[in-house]
Amino acid sequence: MHKRLLVFILVALLQWFVPGLMIFKYESTLLSGKIFRFEIAPVDPYDALRGRYLWLSFKENTLQERADLKVTRGQYIYVMLKTDDHEFARFSDYALEPSRGKNYLKLQVQYNYNGKIGVEIPFRKYFVNETSASKAEIIYNRGARADSKSEAYVLVRVKNGNAVIEELYINGKPLPELIKAEMLQAQ
């Protein structure tokens, strides 16, 4: 019986290891990762809210293929990041191995067409509370519309190829604050 209990304790510790590792990785990225602002692209207003999260769409999601480094669909590449004049994140280059000292994301190639590589951004889901989901959708769609004058972006911390969303901003205000204000107004 005690042998079985000992084995169980080891298993239980292992079961803590998985969420523990996740928390460590994400907290480490949030605490010491470099901040990048990813500009949100216009979305289909009927598709923004899937279940309990907003499906984010980004303007920066493609890069030019290098003549000396061909890639195929499904392949993982390391994409280097830089900031443009408006302080938004842009892809600068890519490689098959991570580069030391540079900020990069590990992304999967979605397509490669006519020298243009499309990549899957890993932080496309922004989870919202079910009770405020519909308000979040309205505010998000308003901010992300093509004709919108709003500035909509996601603040992302990047460290060692990992990226964690810090917050979603519309016109400089975080989405939870806007949702709260909207809900108070509605009451």
């Binding site: 019986m1 209990l5 996740m22 932080f123 079910e130």
Partner: protein, 441 residues
Amino acid sequence: MRLRDKHLRWLSKELPELVNQGVLDSSTSDKLLKYYGFHEAQSKRNLLLTIFSFIGAMLIGLGIMLLLAHNWDNFSRLVRTLISLAPLLASQLFAAWIIYTGRNSNSWRESVGVFYVCSIGSSIALIGQIYHVTSSAADFLLSWMLLVLPLVYLLKAGVAGVFYLLGLSFWTFCAEGERQNVVLYWVWLSLMSPYLWHLFKINRYRAQLTILNWALALSLTLSLGVILEDVLANGWMILYSALFSIFYMIHQFYFDNAVSSWQRPYRLFGTRGIIILSFIFSYEDVWNQVNRDFVHKFTTVSPFIMMPKLMVFLCILILWGYLFIQLLKRKESFRVLFVSLPIAASLSHVITFWSGPIIPLILFNMLLLIFGVCITLLGIRKEQLDLLNEGLLILLVLILLRFFDVDLGLMMRGIIFIILGAVFLGANWFVIKRRQKRQNA
């Protein structure tokens, strides 16, 4: 003979006293309890208790989650993280208590098992949601399954085993979509096999093993096509013919003394699978695909992808071949014919490739006719209504399907329906009368 519950309870209280006083010995006492259905009733009560405990545990867990979800936005990230991990800790404490105190009650093990399984998945999912980072569906499912697997061995919780087996099937669907190596399904499946073997050696008709067998049969049926999809082209016909034949033969060799039908999952999957496949193969459209896809798939899929899958395919055929030879030795000609579907499917592939689908169509329609007639006659001979009706149903469906393939007038169709209905009723009446006559004699 069954007694009413209150009489059974009285009897179960009296018998130990009678044994103590030397009026009866303990083996007679056991025989009396068995004769009056005490163990059966107790087993049903235990099963009910297990089911209600399971439902109760699930409802409590869901209720707690809903309460927390309502106030989620008001919590800081730290508090949310702690709340996400709390069910995992609670379920681990419950499980440790069960193991430490040596409680063997099914209701405890299964209800803690279900709570534990849910808490593992919810903790991983909620952590991802808190940080707005989610892994792929396949990676999430695989992590969840592998963390659940130890519960099968340590808690001996059947629900964890069922969850693991069916979860693997969902993993194959997701992993195939994400271009992961789905052949690993066999590796993950083999991790559960020592436990299944252990249960089989103790008592192959035990309830937990029966439930796991149902889950295993379903998992294999769902996953096999996905795993071997891009190698197979039309090879799925041979693959699934072999799979269902294997199920049937496993039942015949290892589970044939099962008392009730719920203890025969492999028989159900095997027989239904073979019959349904035979009906599918009796259509021309299926064979018209053979020429187009077969060569194309074989020449376009990369060998690195194809080789492991081809090995799995061959292993299934070898297993089928081994069991088939064992069945041949028994000289049960109908059963041998029944599980010869892979041979028929393979031959039909070759014939279709060279000369079109006509011969396979005739072959499978003939097979269905033979299956229907033989099962009907078997039902009459054994006086088993379920077998009789199964055979008649096969014949009826065959006739109806071919019926709609040809142009017949309303009157002719009406006459045929009446004849079929009369045959159904007549055969059932005949078997019932014969059985009554035998019982009265």
